[in-house]
Symmetry: C2
Subunit: 332 residues, 2 copies
């Protein structure tokens, strides 16, 4: 058995104890419809005495729509998604919604399976990262009677709602910034671009912008794994071994950039005169580094907040670009 069983108090028992009908108890508890003060007191007393806890499973089944919101996110280790969840949490909670989640590890096939499993809970909404989903995932989501929010990206066609910012624009802005600062030997250190498609979009847009300005990417080191501080450090080491004359490196995110920064510190490479570093995300720690990290700050928490608000408000289908902010730190 899934769990030990000892009959829980039911609404019918409360009604019996309070000497009222079931629907009356239901009305009092949900503060819905009308009832007298005297009845309310009797009901509440019974609830208190019996230690009644409403069964939301039954409630959801009986009423039409659920108040579950399903998050199907690529990773929990990546602070980005934790921030989004944090942003959404408060709004959902205030409105009595319950968050449910599952982690895809950036795998579209897993995403598909998890979405299917989530839909079995008949959620009010499914929150996903980005636009890249399998055909079956899209089909399921369309067929399902629930809202869909694609978060953290706006470069593509939304299924229903989308909240985020343009990763392509971010890649371009990063490139333009480095070019403006006069860097001409620019490298890239990144992580799994095929799976983290948003990082992939930044990468390609970054490269295109460089090329368009006659400054092709001078070298790159791309890992197939997830991003980490360690990969950033090792990646820069490898990249510099192959291409020693770089004057700037664009990292796929701040974690990777921090790794690169550590590498420079360890090797005595002077930043930014000898090598410039540019990240992505705008994590708090970037501001605290001895030299503030040059990066792009993304509205992660705001994305979560807005995504939740759109669901709570039953907003019509739309795409909302929250933009981003380029932080001119001291590392580039």
């Amino acid at each position: 058995m899934t769990s030990r069983y000892q009959a829980a108090v039911t609404l019918a028992q409360v009604a019996e104890a309070a000497g009222v009908g079931e629907s009356t108890v239901s009305r009092v508890l949900r503060n819905h419809g009308s009832y007298s003060g005297k009845t309310r007191d009797r009901v509440m007393t019974a609830v208190e005495r019996l230690g009644y806890v409403p069964n939301r499973i039954a409630g959801t089944l009986a009423s039409t729509g659920s108040r579950l919101v399903a998050f199907v996110i690529p990773s929990l280790s990546n602070i980005v998604f934790a921030d989004v969840l944090r942003g959404a949490g408060a709004t959902l909670e205030e409105n009595q919604y319950q968050a449910v989640f599952a982690v895809t590890d950036y795998d579209p096939a897993r995403e598909e399976a998890l979405v299917a499993s989530m839909l079995a809970w008949r959620p009010a909404a499914v929150m996903l990262a980005g636009y890249e989903h399998t055909g079956r995932t899209i089909k399921m989501l369309r067929a399902a009677n629930c809202r869909v929010v694609e978060m953290l990206d706006v470069d593509g066609t939304a299924l229903d709602l989308a909240v985020g910012f343009s990763n392509r624009a971010a890649g371009r802005a990063s490139a333009e910034f480095l070019l403006k600062r006069g860097y001409r030997r620019i490298g890239y250190v990144g992580h799994d671009l095929e799976r983290d498609t948003r990082a992939g979009k930044r990468y390609s847009s970054f490269c295109e912008t460089l090329s368009a300005n006659g400054v092709p990417l001078a070298g790159q080191q791309i890992y197939r794994e997830a991003s980490s501080v360690e990969r950033g450090r090792l990646g820069l080491d490898l990249l510099l071994a192959r291409t020693p004359d770089l004057d700037a490196v664009y990292f796929s995110n701040d974690d990777m950039a921090l790794g690169g920064y550590f590498h420079c510190l360890a090797r005595g490479i002077v930043i930014p005169s000898q090598l410039a570093i540019f990240g992505y995300n705008g994590l708090d720690l970037g501001r605290v580094m001895p030299q503030a990290l040059s990066t792009i700050r993304t509205p992660r928490v705001a994305t979560g907040q807005l995504a939740a608000k759109l669901i709570v408000d039953s907003a019509p289908s739309q795409v909302i670009d929250l933009g981003f902010e380029l932080i001119e730190g001291a590392t580039a």
Copy 2:
């Protein structure tokens, strides 16, 4: 309305379409009980054709126990809890359990409210951080017909299951290590001890061990907020301003320690000869710093994994201490 409504396909419709009884469909879908291959094919074809997605809300209500596991955790920003969730995720998923979560922000009153709200979903288990809960929380959990796992601590009396490690022992080990290395002017930089009771336990145990060895804490800077790299940096700055002659600082965790490390880099304080730094958690980035961070590595992912396994296996009540590992890095 919570969501747009368009009647979803039901099991009855599948049964009708396949020309079999409802219970047969149910058996095939759950691979439970016996049915012929021919029937299975007919059912599966109908399922496919109609795009049927079983309704788990109804399924859970009809069967006895739910397969929901409720995580009520202090924070999502703190990588510790993300790691725990990550560890638990795989095991739960393999066993068809669904994770639900809510964030307390280290507030016992919020924890109480969230546990109440979670219990309404009749979860198979409630997973909490630590032992410090309000009386009502404890009462509710005892009354509820579900398993309870208290994670990341073993210093106290468990309600049911507990998986983690001793924060007191960790505090003591840290103190002993610093003493052994010959540090005698030791300070502390930490965050909200009253709310993060596990950090509080490490702190008090650390101080007691120092005192017991005739080396009382030489100074401290404690913030009331959550930990962050920034607080670590500012905290060390303030602490050194008041107590310049420290030779070592114990930080409430690695994030704080990283902030301290950045401060030293910025001020040209040589580590560890001029000032030693010691953290807690054993985050990956500690290994990648130019000087590996001296810290204590905690089995966060393993805690999550084991917690999930105990639930899945319906293990009897018990407390499991997974221990920790002291990492002799280069910063202390």
